[in-house]
Amino acid sequence: MNFSYYPGCTLKNKAQDLDRYARLSAEKLGIHLEELSEWQCCGGAFSMGKDEIASKLAAVRALNGAKEQGQDLVTLCSACHNVLKQANDAMAHDEEFSEHANNYMQLEKPYKGETRVIHYLELLRDVVGFDNLKKAVVKPLTGKKVAAYYGCLLLRPSKVMQMDNPENPTIIEDFLRAIGAEPVLYANRNECCGGYAVLEDRAIAQKKSAAVMENAADQGAEMMITACPLCEYNLKKNTPADGRLPVYYFTELLAEALGVKE
């Protein structure tokens, strides 16, 4: 099965593991990810300004690229996924924005939000299926106590993202069970890590990330996984070294379970 794939900037430098293990695992699962030929930065954050067009055009270009390939678009980075999904929703439902964006784009056929954007986790759940994933596992992570960390961008705004229940999600825990690990439930799995606030005031990010890390460790987790490079950064760099759990991208555990980790 072929899908268009949007890696995003961070996956080309800081978060190469997220990207590499995702591709290796996908091939093992019979899924071919075709990187969009001319993708640009997604914009990083979806602007709340209704009249802000320019910073959203790159996302629309990527979406239209997948449309021209006739493929669903797979994303991996939580931030890119959030931006692409929100831009797609605006193209489909916000007529004024859609008209303006199409005026800039000068496409042969106007883009109206036709592309289906799915996160890699949704690919595993809805296309591969967690049951099939379980069968494909060769090195189950039996006995590994793993804390799933969702962060903010993956699930919210829930009406647009439509991935999982934003208050009581299960998708990463279900993924962990499929690869044989033992998910650790903890209260702060859904809280903010501090996000971009780290640029303004590192203390905020330190406080928020520490609360997440402490809670996961307290509940007996051995490691944490996430889908977001920014969360990974904050959890690794802005938590107290004492008691810090190792933090991995979920794709690294996936690759390990599938036996494709180099």
Binding site: N165, N168, Y186, A187
Partner: protein
């Protein structure tokens, strides 16, 4: 040609300020058939009504048009007025120049023109009006109460007290409802069981009351005065006549690990059970989902130990059909599910409980025998945080409810106060948006919790509850008055969950053709003036099925619903609405179009013998309307392809005459 009188009402300044009433009565005086036209300040007042009566007599009027407020307001008043002057009351038409004209327009010239046009349409219609006489229908002198909680119990007792028969249908094995699970009741702190169980026993012993416990309403047919209801008596697998309620079977049953609904799953029950000691009827019930004998034919222990021989594994559901004159809905409420409230860690920690669970944990008949212990480790909690408005007063888009659940402020004050009284070493915090305590002695009660019992009331909401591995619950909250963040290490967190109508209410409303609001609460006929009646005739509302209510409000409303039922059942006959459908048999070709659209099942067909123009006789299939069942909605008149079906008082020709008059500018 009719002799028509036109009466234009000022409604004080309500109409007269926006509509030139003199111009209206003057313009309408020249309409065909109008022999008298006037205006007056308050047409509904006694002198206004006398003006109408005198004019009818003086001018020998045969039709009356009143230009005033909505017919919903005063049609009944004016029908009586014209009848008192000797006219048939259906020779009256009302042109609504208030709600549909003066109240919604600002420009006086335009509003006046519109009022004249509306009056003209009413005149055109009354030209074609014919005298109508309402039919009558009998009243079955028995009421059905659906739901056997405190609302249903009180309604049934009051109706029985007036001498009428009442049936209570309750889906649980016992009547009593939510109130049986409550320990003490605010604001007097009397024990709920002590005031409720005598009423339950009264129901069982009252000759006029028949309890269908463990039963559900399957089908409702008919109309006010004569409903036919099918009730499903679910199989208990125990003969209720033979069973003495001794409880021997419930001690011997080997299936021990079934979550006990009565204690909200905080302890377990057996597969054969009696919900609680004071159950009415006190009869054992076998839970077919968990009984080994019913599932795979192995066991039979309960039958062996039953000295009364009451166990019957072959018992089947039974359908009973009963007739009623009135139906009271008393289906009550449930707390919402809290699994999605991850921020309060309800699904993660056993020590985060709902208020109703807390109620069981403090009840002498509850799983801990009334000693407050943490569900996780059975230890005494030293710090308890109560969170109010969990799921109440939320935006409509989120997971919660937009309304205030009304009872939570008071029961939380009760819980907080009782905890402090029994365990003075316990710190109690209550987080609130506002404390809502209107009601007799309610605010005094809440203030006692704060001032005498030292409960820490903090204005602000809890943002997060983090369960820690040492058993503490880390509560993060804001104190809005002190403008600071609080971190409390609590042993228990109690969530005041919003309440919502019981899930059975929606399908029941469909069966009863009773209307509901977007939250699935039953709608009353008028928010202020008819609070216990449904807009559907013969259906009455009791208790929290109509909106969140505490026990005093519920009992008051239950009594009010009963008095309305008694008023209905006291009548020997009901006067119907004469504006009902009527087929022209010569035009009807028996196509069944009308029967298919009739929402009340009022239309059937007969083969009837006709004398044809050529003097032969022919048997033709024609529609017949059951006049007692027809509600006059008019759906059939629209569906009829040959124009045979007509609505008395709203005939096709009358409607067309109105439209013509409206279009003739």
């Amino acid at each position: 040609m009719q002799r028509i009188g036109v009466f234009v009402c000022w409604c004080g300044s309500n109409i007269a300020a926006t509509v030139d009433v003199n111009a209206v009565s003057e313009a309408l005086a020249h309409e065909p058939g109008v022999v008298f036209s006037t205006n007056y300040q308050y047409m509904c007042s006694e002198s206004g009504q006398n003006l109408i009566k005198d004019a009818i007599k003086e001018h020998q009027l045969t039709g009356v048009v009143i230009c005033s407020c909505s017919p919903r307001m005063h049609e009944a008043t004016f029908r009586k007025t014209v009848a008192a002057a000797g006219l048939n009351s259906y020779m009256l038409e009302i042109a609504n120049i208030r709600e549909q004209c003066s109240w919604i327009h600002k420009d006086k010239a335009e509003a006046t023109e519109k009022a004249i046009i509306l009056g003209r349409a009413a005149i055109a219609k009354v030209q074609l009006n014919a005298p109508l006489t309402p039919g009558t229908s009998p009243v079955t002198k028995r009421a059905l109460v659906i739901g056997g909680g405190i609302a249903g119990i009180q309604t049934a007792l009051d109706i029985a007290d007036a001498g009428f028969e009442v049936d209570i249908v309750e889906k649980q094995p016992t009547i009593g409802g939510k109130m049986t699970q409550i320990d003490k009741t605010f604001p007097t702190l009397d024990c709920a069981a002590c005031i409720l169980t005598p009423k339950m026993v009264d129901c069982a012993q009252n000759e006029k009351i028949n309890i269908f416990a463990y039963s559900e309403v399957e089908e409702v047919k008919g109309f006010v005065g004569s409903f036919t209801v099918k009730i499903k008596k679910k199989a208990r697998y125990v003969d209720p006549v033979k069973c003495t309620g001794c409880g021997e079977c419930t001690e011997k049953c080997p299936m021990k690990k079934i979550p006990n609904e009565f204690n909200l799953g905080l302890d377990t029950r057996r597969a054969i059970y009696i919900p609680f000691a004071q159950a009415v009827p006190k009869v054992a019930t076998i839970d077919p989902d968990h009984c080994n004998m019913l599932k795979n034919g192995k066991c039979g222990l309960c039958a062996k130990v039953c000295s009364a021989g009451a166990i019957d594994y072959k018992q089947k559901d039974e359908i009973v059909e009963r007739e009623y004159g009135a139906i009271v809905v008393a289906t009550g409420y449930n707390p919402i599910k809290l699994d999605d409230y991850d921020e309060y860690a309800y699904a993660q920690s056993k020590d985060v409980v709902s208020s109703l669970e807390f109620e069981r944990l403090t009840n002498a008949a509850g799983p801990t025998g009334g000693t407050l212990l943490r569900p996780s480790d059975g230890k005494h909690p030293h710090t308890i945080v109560f969170v109010q408005c969990v799921g109440s007063r939320c935006s409509n888009e989120g997971k919660g409810k937009s309304y205030c659940s009304k009872i939570c402020c008071m029961y939380t004050a009760k819980h907080a106060m009782l905890t402090r009284e029994k365990y003075p070493d316990t710190d109690v915090y209550v987080f609130y948006i506002d404390v809502r305590s209107p009601g007799k002695n309610y605010d005094e009660f809440y203030r006692r919790a704060v001032e005498e019992y030292g409960v820490h009331y903090i204005k602000g909401m809890v943002g997060k509850v983090v369960p820690r591995s040492d058993g503490k619950l880390l509560v993060q909250a804001s104190d809005l008055l002190a403008n600071e963040q609080l971190h409390i290490e609590a042993d228990m967190v109690v969530l005041a969950a919003a309440i919502e109508p019981d899930k059975s209410a929606r399908p029941l409303a469909t069966m009863l053709t009773a209307s509901m609001d977007t939250n699935d609460f039953f709608t009353e006929a008028h928010a202020k003036l008819r609070p216990v009646e449904s807009p559907t005739a013969g259906i009455f509302l009791s208790g929290a099925c109509q909106g969140p209510k505490d026990i005093p409000d519920t009992v008051a409303q239950a009594g009010a619903a009963a008095s309305k039922v008694i008023g209905l059942l006291a009548k020997d006959k009901l006067t119907g609405n004469p504006c009902i459908a009527h087929p022209d048999e010569w035009m009807c070709n028996g196509c069944s179009s009308c029967e298919k659209v009739c929402p009340y099942g009022a239309i059937s067909y007969v083969d009837k013998e006709f004398r044809m123009p050529d003097r032969t006789t022919a048997i033709r299939r024609v529609a017949v309307v059951n006049e007692a069942v027809c509600q006059g909605c008019g759906a059939c008149t629209v569906a009829c392809p040959s124009g045979a079906m007509d609505l008395k008082g709203f005939s096709n020709s009358q409607i067309m005459a109105e439209v013509d008059a409206l279009c003739k500018m």
